[in-house]
Every structure is written in structure tokens, then in C-alpha cells.
């Protein structure tokens, strides 16, 4: 059954790739704009080998982007959970920050890029700051919802049994809100990934997948552009399946907070 599904899914992809290859080789498609898929793969191989054995150019680009994403997501989650818990626990804090967050959240990271470039210049500072912001907002948003949904009886029970405020937060609010926070983390990771690639287009100075793709587009190297996007798809797929889904089944699904798929 699964095999049949995979075979069915492969049909349009194979037809598309074969068609592209044939049209491009036969020059019915402009091979400068639409280089044949085999050329794209070869170029990715070239980029991988470039600079070997000391370092691989492709791995440097990928590694740099992943490092920025990791750093931003971690910082964004920590800040988001702290602000989110504060907002969820205190009405005054909530009513102050909620409007600010509603207006700031829909601003795309790339719109802030020119401002941050003026403030911090090209490079990691600008890219990671915008990455942190983009991961921060979804986490705050869902953490607030999670904390506010906690059953007050649980809180009273914990307090009655002598739990200190910090203990109530750590042992009651956070575990209860974990499903919500997790959703925020997923959203945050997706937005952070997107923002970092986009900001790398304009603000990276030498490494990063966004930089690689943008630089290739400016030099009309279509093969590198397509290769880069293919890599983006593959890497995100791995991030989502291997990292997020595994983390989910090890934590909240194991605790019985969501149904195991």
C-alpha cells in the first residue's frame, strides 16, 4: 500500500524532471534559465567538492545557515516562554503587551532588515537578531494561550500543598502549557527558517544558503539557484521529520498530551 502510494507520488515528479531535462537539452527551454536537472545536480556536487579537502563550500553555506537558525530558535524560545508566562499569569502585563504583539507579529522579518542593517551592519548580528524576533512571536502567542488555559483548581491544589510560586510555574503551568508551547516552537522554527533565508539574501556577507542563492541569481547562475532551492526543500524536510516529529513523540506524545500519530 505504502509502495503504491510512493510510486503514484513519484509519477508527476519523474515526468516533470524528464520533461525538463529533454526540453532543456533540446533547447526548447532556454538552458541558461532552465538548466537540465542533471546539470543542477552536478553543480551541487561541484560546490560540495569546492575547497575540499580543507572545507566544502556547500557545507559551509549549509552549516552557517543551520547554526544561525539554531541559535535564533533557542534564544527566541527562551525569551518567548518567559514573556509568555508573564503575560499569561498577570492581566496587566497581558493587556500591555498583547496589542504590541498583535501589530508587531505580522511584520515580515525582511521588512525589518534595512533598519537592522543600519543599526548593526551586514552579517551575523543582523541576521540572528531578526531570526530571534521571528521565532519569539509565535512562541509568546501560544505560550500565553497555554498558560491561560490551565485549570485553576490544579494551581490551587499545588499552592495548598505548599508549592512556591516558582514551583507552581515550573510544575503546573509549564507542563500543562507544553502542547501549546510546542505548537509555537513548530511555527517559530518555520518562520525563523524563512526569515533567516530571506535576510541572508540582503544582509549576509559571505556564507549562508540565502547568500549563496542570491549571489547566484545576481550572477545569472540558474543552476546554483535551483540547486540551492532543492537543498532548502530537502533540509527543511529533514528538520521537520527527523527533529520536530521525533522530539514531539519523545515528549508530549509520550506524556499522553496528544494522540500519537
Amino acid at each position: 500500500m505504502l509502495k503504491r502510494k510512493a510510486a503514484l507520488a513519484a509519477i508527476p515528479i519523474v515526468i516533470f524532471l524528464l520533461g525538463w531535462e529533454a526540453l532543456s537539452r533540446g533547447s526548447l527551454l532556454n538552458p541558461y534559465l532552465f538548466p537540465p536537472p542533471t546539470t543542477i545536480l552536478m553543480e551541487l556536487g561541484n560546490l560540495f567538492m569546492k575547497g575540499m579537502p580543507a572545507q566544502s563550500a556547500l557545507l559551509m553555506h549549509v552549516g552557517m545557515t543551520l547554526w544561525r537558525v539554531l541559535l535564533s530558535v533557542v534564544l527566541g524560545i527562551v525569551a518567548g516562554v518567559i514573556v509568555g508566562v508573564a503575560m499569561g499569569l498577570n492581566r496587566a502585563v497581558y493587556s500591555f503587551f498583547d496589542p504590541l504583539i498583535t501589530v508587531l507579529m505580522p511584520i515580515p522579518g525582511i521588512a525589518l532588515a534595512p533598519l537592522f542593517i543600519v543599526w548593526m551592519g551586514f552579517g551575523n548580528q543582523t541576521i540572528v537578531s531578526l531570526g530571534v524576533l521571528s521565532a519569539f512571536f509565535p512562541v509568546v502567542y501560544t505560550t500565553v494561550a497555554g498558560v491561560r488555559s490551565v485549570d485553576p483548581q490544579l494551581v490551587r491544589a499545588a499552592q495548598m500543598m505548599g508549592s512556591r510560586p516558582i514551583g507552581v510555574v515550573l510544575n503546573v503551568y509549564l507542563p500543562w502549557a507544553a502542547t501549546y508551547v510546542f505548537n509555537g516552537v513548530k511555527l517559530g522554527l518555520a518562520r525563523c527558517w524563512m526569515t533567516i533565508i530571506a535576510v541572508e539574501f540582503v544582509a549576509a556577507s559571505n556564507w549562508g544558503m540565502g547568500y549563496m542563492i542570491w549571489n547566484a541569481a545576481e550572477n545569472l547562475r540558474a543552476d546554483v539557484v535551483y540547486g540551492g532551492i532543492l537543498l532548502l526543500i530537502v533540509i527543511y524536510f529533514i528538520l521537520e521529520k527527523a527533529l520536530i516529529n521525533r522530539l514531539e513523540s519523545r515528549t508530549i506524545a509520550r506524556w499522553g498530551m496528544i494522540r500519537q500519530a
Binding site: A9, P12, P108, I110, P114, F201, A216, L232, I233, Y236
Partner: protein, 272 residues
């Protein structure tokens, strides 16, 4: 039948004024602290304008020069064209995929892979193949909205109870009539979610596209991006705040009205 909507009374009007005040006061507080900090010299920076300077810049752009509206209308034209294309094509494709198991088996996996590509990552491809102008930006907007709308239309139609479809078929409802009378209303909750997600993505894609497509002259994203070349941070702030506010209003106005007029009135989701 539901009871008639209550007439807006003074009380609800007062409440909505209170709502506006509650929404606006944090911005006022932040602006006041910011302004004082700069005036008293606690913070000194050439690249951090005071709120009063930003307001003055807004006044200059919006009233004295009036260029702001030029930027805005260019942006909204692109948004409208791209988004409506995304709605039309997205709903059609989503419906086709949900109605034919074969098409779904063929294309759903491709679709779910492509959804994960950041819209902005298509931009370099489009810049190479379609040029640096309007066409590229509109296509980016289209791609931004298309995937969310297609995916949610598909999910929505799948969630229509099988019994309803069979009952309708039994009563001789078929083809287009079945689609418009049963499937579309039944999937509207999910469809509207898709439309709302779609407009958010489309708006972000628009801003990114406008910034990076070199050959366009107008557009709110272009305004922010160009301000970098003459180091005018105030223009950036005006642009960024308006981008945020528009994104918020796009979500809360017309799609919210659609939601209230349909699924909430029909009792398919709880009123908020």
C-alpha cells in the same frame, strides 16, 4: 432561526471605545518613554529617530508630498491581483484534489513538499526567469497565498460528512450544484482558515518581493528598502509600522466579516 441581531446600544458603543483605548494605550506609553529617553539624552543615536520625528515624517509622506498613497496603491494592486489569482486557482485545485483520489495520490505529496519552501525562496528563480518587475512580484504574492488556500480547501472538503454528500446525491443533487450547495458551505470553516493564512503569507511575500525586485519604483516595501540608500531611518519606521498595521487590518477586516456572515452565523464555529 437565530434571533435577530441586537441593535448597537450605547453600552456596546462605549465598550468599543474602551476597546480602542485599551488597544492604543501601550503604544502611547512606549512612544512617550522613547521620546523622553531621547529628549533627555539617555539614549543618543543618529539612527534612532524620536516618535515625534517619525510622526513628522509620516505627515510629510502622507500629506505634504502625498507619495505614501502612491506606494500604497501600487502595493495593494499587486496584492489584489496575486491574491485573487491564488484564491481562484487554489480553490479549484484544492477541490479537484479532494474529489479525485487519483489526482490526490499523484499530487498531494508534491504539494506538501512545496508548501514547506519559504515563498521568498522562489523569488530568485522568478527574478531570473520573469525579470525584475511587476510580474515577478505578483507571482510571488500568488505563490504565497496559493499553497495555504489549496491545502485548506482540500482538507475542508474532505471533512464534509460523507452522509451529507450521500443524502444530497440521493435527492438528485449533482455536479456543480452539489459543489456549491453542499461541499463549499460544508468546507467553509477550513476554507476561510486557508484564506486568512493565505492573505498573511501573500502580504509578507509582497513586502519581500517589492524589496528585492529591482525594477519596480513604487510599493510600500520598496519605500522601506530605498530609505536605506539615503539613510532615512524615519521613513523605515513609518513603512514598517504601516506594514504591520496593514497586515493586521487585512486579517481582521474583510475575512473576519466573511467569517461572521457565514460560518459564525450558521453556528459552525463559536462566536468570538
Amino acid at each position: 432561526m437565530l434571533t435577530q441581531e441586537p441593535v448597537v446600544t450605547q453600552q456596546t458603543a462605549a465598550r468599543s471605545v474602551w476597546g480602542v483605548v485599551r488597544f492604543v494605550y501601550p503604544f502611547v506609553v512606549v512612544a512617550l518613554i522613547w521620546e523622553t529617553a531621547l529628549r533627555l539624552g539617555w539614549v543618543q543615536s543618529v539612527s534612532l529617530p524620536a516618535p515625534s520625528q517619525i510622526a513628522a515624517e509620516f505627515w510629510r509622506l502622507a500629506v505634504t508630498q502625498g507619495v505614501l498613497w502612491e506606494h500604497f496603491s501600487a502595493s495593494f494592486y499587486r496584492l489584489a491581483v496575486g491574491y485573487f489569482l491564488a484564491v481562484g486557482i487554489g480553490v479549484t485545485v484544492g477541490a479537484l484534489l479532494s474529489l479525485s483520489p487519483l489526482l490526490r495520490g499523484l499530487f498531494e505529496p508534491v504539494l506538501s513538499l512545496l508548501v514547506s519552501v519559504p515563498t521568498i525562496a522562489w523569488l530568485p528563480v522568478l527574478l531570473i526567469t520573469m525579470g525584475l518587475g511587476d510580474r515577478t512580484v505578483i507571482t510571488t504574492v500568488f505563490l504565497g497565498g496559493f499553497f495555504a488556500i489549496t491545502y485548506n480547501t482540500m482538507r475542508g472538503i474532505e471533512m464534509v460528512p460523507r452522509n451529507q454528500i450521500l443524502a444530497a446525491r440521493e435527492m438528485g443533487v449533482n455536479g456543480a450544484h452539489l459543489f456549491f450547495a453542499v461541499l463549499l458551505p460544508g468546507s467553509l470553516v477550513s476554507l476561510i482558515t486557508g484564506l486568512r493564512l493565505g492573505i498573511g503569507y501573500a502580504w509578507r511575500a509582497l513586502v519581500g518581493g517589492e524589496m528585492l525586485a529591482a525594477m519596480i519604483e513604487w510599493g510600500i516595501g520598496k519605500m522601506v528598502f530605498q530609505a536605506r540608500f539615503f539613510n532615512n531611518v524615519s521613513i523605515m519606521f513609518v513603512g514598517i509600522l504601516l506594514i504591520g498595521l496593514s497586515g493586521y487590518l487585512l486579517d481582521r477586516t474583510f475575512l473576519r466579516w466573511l467569517e461572521m456572515a457565514t460560518v459564525e452565523r450558521w453556528g459552525m464555529v463559536r462566536r468570538r
